[in-house]
Amino acid sequence: MPSFFAVRLQDGRLYGSLIDILHNGAPLALAALGMTLVIATRGIDLSVGTVVAISGAVACTWIASSPDPASPGTALTGIGLALALAAALGAWNGFLVARLGIQPIIATLVLMTAGRGLAQLVTDGQIITVNNGFFAGISGSALLAVPLTVVVAAAVYALVALVTRRTALGTLVEAVGINPEASRLAGVRSQSIVWTVYVFAALCAAVAGLMISSNVNAADANNAGLWLELDAILAVVIGGTSLAGGRYSIAGTLLGALTIQTLTTTIYSVGIPPEVSLVFKALVVILVFLAQAPKVRALMRRRRRRRDDAPPPAATAVPAETAGSGR
């Protein structure tokens, strides 16, 4: 009887449902990480899904159309191109938001709409299949038996945690998000901070896009990253960051992304029919938020206080609950 929790070694790589969750959750986790910082500055980035598509399209098209489509060098150039283009797109978002003062949701909606067209333009509307060992390795290879995607995502998280902790970036991002005017008057370079977070978000999305397209060795300009921005925002909010900007939690976002991926994988694994899976997802989201809502928790605590006085934090109950529904 296979178990949801079983993990074994297969061809030098860990194998099991839990590994799938980490592996498939890595792109979402990365996209959500970028989104966290954007949201912390009171922004929002609807274009991450599109950037996912563009980066995959650019890398795969470059590789497929090069004279030597199997060489690592080609793959590296393609990856470099994808990242550079993503950075430029992020800067574009930053320009619209920080310089022109356009509301973030609409500024990034422009790229969300036009970008997918751009990705299709690059791929000529085809699904571009590549056969490049190096490129396939982004998602196919493993470091010490851990899938490279998981390693990369973990490394980026660690890096961001370190940078925001060790430099003043974290505090300044929060300050800009909490009170932009006060921050401006205190001399914070809010414009460049806003540019930075949008560029970073786009880079995260690009890496996610590379992972997604490497996973199937193909670029699908139309479907890659479709609606990923909503899942990313959801992950950020599950993680406890307010959409009003200000204080954010990187660890929370990670937990949020994994929760969402666990939910998806669970739906596939336990055989919930597709026609009710959305209702199921909605109910779980509602439950998670009810369990987290300070108001509800206060009510529960008040009721529980009479009996015992150590309520378990609801956030940790989330993975347990979803894992419990796997058999």
Partner: protein, 299 residues
């Protein structure tokens, strides 16, 4: 922009094309009106597209089951309002972010569509068909659909409510500063829950108009329409942070989006991807234009 279209395509600037803009977007106007209320309080409603789909589904399914069309319309409208009420109550009383609550609402409504039926359901109820195919003449060769009239009435009511009732002013106050509004002793709860009820009802109404437009119920209708509605409201000059904006601006926003579509369909040579790129660029042009105008207005 419109003039540009007129120069470029002969039949573009004809009066009926303008009216068609309204006919083809009446449901979006109604959606945008509801969304304007929500955004004015600083909230957001992501569920509207799915509620539109659910409304088409419920209407089609009930008609198929032999219900009377008038009753069906009532059920749909009340259902939408109740759906909004539930979301608003959770948002206000349990203090959960609107984005999330309405996102869950979006999943739920779309999911319920699938539960009702996976396939599209045609509607052949005579009343629905009549409404769908009636053309209200405006003199000359011009005509509009009944949906346009409904949308016009909705806009008028919204303007009235927002500018001439205490509820409407409270909506603005809550959007400006919810804390202050509470300390000023305003009925914050009523406003914050109320806007979601309005938005829910508007979505259901838009769903009905959409049903007239399509004469079918389908679970994949109106995917992503919430973004259109939000975009229309924001292009119309309403601040997403709340407290500032006008319903008529949102109507203008809808017309901008509609114009973009019309320009595209007249430019019949664009490939799929160029259509998307052009939509994005036109959107950008309008947004920047609006921004420049707004700045000039302030200075």
């Amino acid at each position: 922009m419109f003039a540009g279209g007129g120069l470029r395509y002969e039949s573009f600037a004809s009066g009926q094309v303008l009216l068609n803009l309204l006919i083809d977007n009446s449901f979006l106007v109604v959606l945008a009106v509801g969304m304007t209320f929500v955004i004015l309080t600083g909230g957001i409603d992501l569920s509207v597209g799915s509620v539109v789909a659910l409304s088409t589904m419920v209407a089609a399914a009930l008609l198929r089951a032999g219900w009377s069309p008038v009753l069906v319309m009532l059920v749909v409208l009340v259902g939408g309002a109740v759906f909004g009420l539930a979301m608003g109550a959770v948002i206000h009383y349990l203090e959960i972010q609107p984005f999330i609550v309405t996102l869950a609402g979006m999943f739920l409504a779309r999911g319920l569509c699938y539960v009702i039926d996976l396939e599209s359901i045609p509607i052949d109820d005579p009343l629905f068909r009549t409404i769908a195919q009636t053309a209200v003449p405006l003199g000359g060769e011009l005509f509009v659909s009944p949906s346009v009239l409904v949308a016009t009435v909705v806009v008028a009511i919204a303007v009235y409510v927002l500018h001439l009732t205490r509820f409407g002013r409270t909506v603005y106050a809550v959007g400006g500063n919810p804390q202050s509004a509470m300390l000023m002793g305003l009925r914050v709860a009523q406003a914050r829950v109320g806007v979601y009820v309005i938005s829910g009802a508007c979505s259901a109404l838009a769903g009905l108009l959409f049903t007239f437009y399509m004469l079918s119920g389908y679970s994949l209708h109106a995917v992503g329409m919430e973004l259109d509605a939000i975009a229309a409201v924001v292009i119309g000059g309403t601040l997403l942070t709340g407290g500032s904006g006008f319903v008529l601006g949102s109507v203008l926003g809808v017309l901008v989006l509609g114009t973009i579509q019309t320009i595209l369909s007249f430019e019949g040579t664009l490939s799929s991807w160029w259509s998307r790129i052009v939509i994005g660029l036109l959107l950008l042009v309008f947004v920047v234009l609006q921004r420049v105008l707004a700045r000039r207005g302030v200075a």
